[in-house]
């Protein structure tokens, strides 16, 4: 059940992130073409920056699902098993609490923006662009919860995600060479 949900969630995040990345690349390339043709796009800076922020939040949830965020597992894995389990629970509590706070504040802020819009595109409301704060926080929490069983298992047996990533990268490189 969790595995199926995990796969669907991963697919959803991948699709959203890929769409954002392609959009960002297209916006930048279009901006270059328009600038050379003598009519720069006035909305380029603002839209590209918002796309980058969206890419950050959606991509961060995807990285969380794969437990890919930078950490320092060396000390954690050196802890005795019982203390490591306790540390794992505490770490999850802190991560989820952080994004709960950010998500709640982001949700509150959407109401504060009212009728405000982007400067270069007055038909795009700020609540729409900033909606990524609560949505991104919710996605991060969901990713953290969905990857929890696997992460718990790996923490107990002492698997190092960085080591795993290195092994996967080497295997991929061997296959393609």
């Amino acid at each position: 059940m969790i595995k199926t949900l995990n796969r669907w969630f991963e697919w959803l995040l991948e699709v959203a992130s890929i769409i954002l990345l392609i959009s960002l690349a297209l916006v930048v390339v279009l901006a270059v073409i328009f600038r050379f043709s003598g009519s720069s796009l006035v909305w380029y800076d603002e839209v590209a920056s918002v796309l980058l922020a969206w890419l950050t939040y959606y991509g961060a949830a995807l990285a969380a699902l794969k437990r890919g965020h930078l950490g320092f597992a060396g000390l954690f894995l050196a802890l005795p098993r019982k203390i490591r389990s306790l540390a794992f629970v505490l770490a999850e509590f802190f991560v989820i609490s952080f994004f709960l706070a950010i998500g709640w504040a982001g949700w509150y802020l959407l109401g504060v923006f009212g009728e405000e819009t982007l400067i270069s595109l007055p038909w795009v409301p700020l609540w729409f662009t900033q909606s990524v704060i609560p949505i991104g926080a919710a996605l991060f929490i969901a990713a953290e919860i969905l990857s929890l069983p696997d992460a718990w298992h790996k923490a107990l047996v002492g698997t190092d995600y960085e080591k795993q990533e290195i092994e996967e990268a080497i295997e991929e490189a061997r296959q393609s060479s």
Partner: protein, 427 residues
């Protein structure tokens, strides 16, 4: 007291394996709530969003995507053939090929691990077959990959430039001379090893073979020429150059080499998104910590504290280099830059150090950090491929680390090494 709270808080969170990005944000939010009340959390959420909209950082996902696209093609094999045809006739030529290709290729995709895996999985077994010790093969692969961090385009320099408000283009230009010097010094070291251990030459120099290899790798070589030429020539900005890099990588991989398919493309894009998001979340949460540190005047107090110790520019740089060396041993490159730059920049500006020069110092320290355990992902990847022990390999790697440190000292105490090209073209 507040500093103690930040340091201890960060240490405990990192110890229990909270992601560094979350640890930075969490310490900042708790600190802000203690000093200014619960409303600070709104400010933190907004600052995190603003932190992720830092315009110069737009170049990161695009350069990473271009690099990931190139990684999925046979670019590494083509570059190895070309460099081998060019310098393989020298004694220890294969080790020099490793250095030469790494200077071009490493750090290209933003994932040092993926880049070293791509090169190392071809070159390390080849070196071992040619009588190089596995430890030397791992050491050469690892350390030459790290010198590439200062050769443009460099993700570390983009992050530094965005955070320090320094010109990314000028940072790229400033990295050329130290990067080439470091590469040549490493090649000289390879030659010394080759003579001492009687290592073989590859094949004799053959103009026909060189021309054939050049034709095969020509398009791959055109990519940096077009992009960096455009950026250095002032035709496009660093961000626009990164956008063009994506188009060029798609064209070369898909149309010229015909090696890109949807599976490759999808994998490259997901890789690009993940690498970008990991760095950008760090940037976003460090913006919250930066806000908190500025509120309690940590950067200003740090500058005052150091200036009380000494106001000699070179002594300050020596202190900073020592601090960065230690930080580099325990933190990944991006995290180290993001954490350190906002704290030290007031000091750098106050004491009159050129931010471009300091950018080079910062990135070279990151390069050294990639080679010094316990946190040394580039070295770990090389050792995993070569199946050697990290600490034993480190012993062989020491002369190569000394080369990196030598370049660092040169950049630190002879500013002309990094700044002359910048002065010629931009001042």
């Amino acid at each position: 007291m507040t500093i103690a709270f930040i340091v201890i808080g960060l240490f405990i969170l990192v110890l229990i394996n909270v992601p560094i990005a979350v640890a930075l944000g969490l310490v900042a939010i708790v600190g802000m709530m203690i000093s200014r009340g619960y409303d600070s959390v709104y400010n933190a959420a907004l600052t995190m969003f603003d932190g992720a909209t830092n315009f110069p950082l737009l170049a990161i996902p695009l350069f990473i995507l271009a690099g990931a696209l190139m990684n999925t093609t046979s670019i590494s094999r083509r570059l190895i053939s070309l460099t081998s045809a060019l310098i393989g006739f020298v004694r220890g030529g294969l080790a020099m090929v490793n250095v030469g290709v790494s200077m071009f290729f490493a750090e290209i995709s933003g994932s040092a691990v993926a880049d070293v895996a791509a090169l190392g999985s071809v070159l390390i077994p080849a070196m071992v077959r040619r009588r190089y010790t596995a430890k030397l093969a791992a050491a050469v692969t690892s350390s030459s990959a790290s010198i590439a961090i200062i050769i443009p385009p460099s993700i570390a320099m983009i992050i530094y430039g965005a955070l320090a408000d320094a010109s990314i283009v000028q940072l790229f230009v400033a990295g050329i001379v130290p990067g080439v010097l470091g590469g040549l010094a490493m090649m000289a070291l390879c030659y010394w090893h080759a003579v001492r251990q009687d290592l073989p030459r590859e094949e004799a120099f053959d103009l026909g073979r060189l021309w054939k290899a050049f034709k095969e790798a020509g398009w791959a070589l055109m990519l940096p020429v077009i992009i960096l030429g455009g950026i250095f020539g002032g035709i496009v900005t660093a961000t626009e150059g990164a956008g063009l890099a994506v188009v060029a990588a798609l064209f070369i991989g898909g149309v010229i080499y015909r090696e890109l398919n949807w599976k490759h493309l999808r994998k490259a894009m997901i890789e690009g998104v993940m690498q970008t998001a990991v760095v950008m979340l760090l940037v976003a949460t460090s913006a919250v910590l930066g806000l908190y540190l500025t509120e309690i005047q940590v950067p200003q107090n740090f500058a005052r504290w150091v200036m009380d110790l000494t106001n000699n520019k070179y002594a300050v740089l020596a202190l900073l280099n020592c601090g960065l060396f230690v930080i580099g041993m325990f933190l990944h490159g991006a995290a180290a830059i993001i954490l350190v730059v906002p704290i030290v920049m007031p000091l750098i500006n106050q004491i009159g150090i050129d931010p471009i020069q300091f950018g080079l110092i910062m990135t070279l320290n990151i390069a050294v950090g990639q080679q010094t355990p316990p946190v040394a992902s580039v070295l770990v990847t090389s050792c995993s491929i070569a199946k050697t022990d990290i600490w034993e390999t480190t012993k062989v790697n020491i002369p190569f680390i000394l080369v990196l440190l030598g370049v660092l000292l040169l950049v630190t105490y002879v500013p002309a090494v990094s700044l002359t090209l910048v002065d010629i073209f931009y001042k």
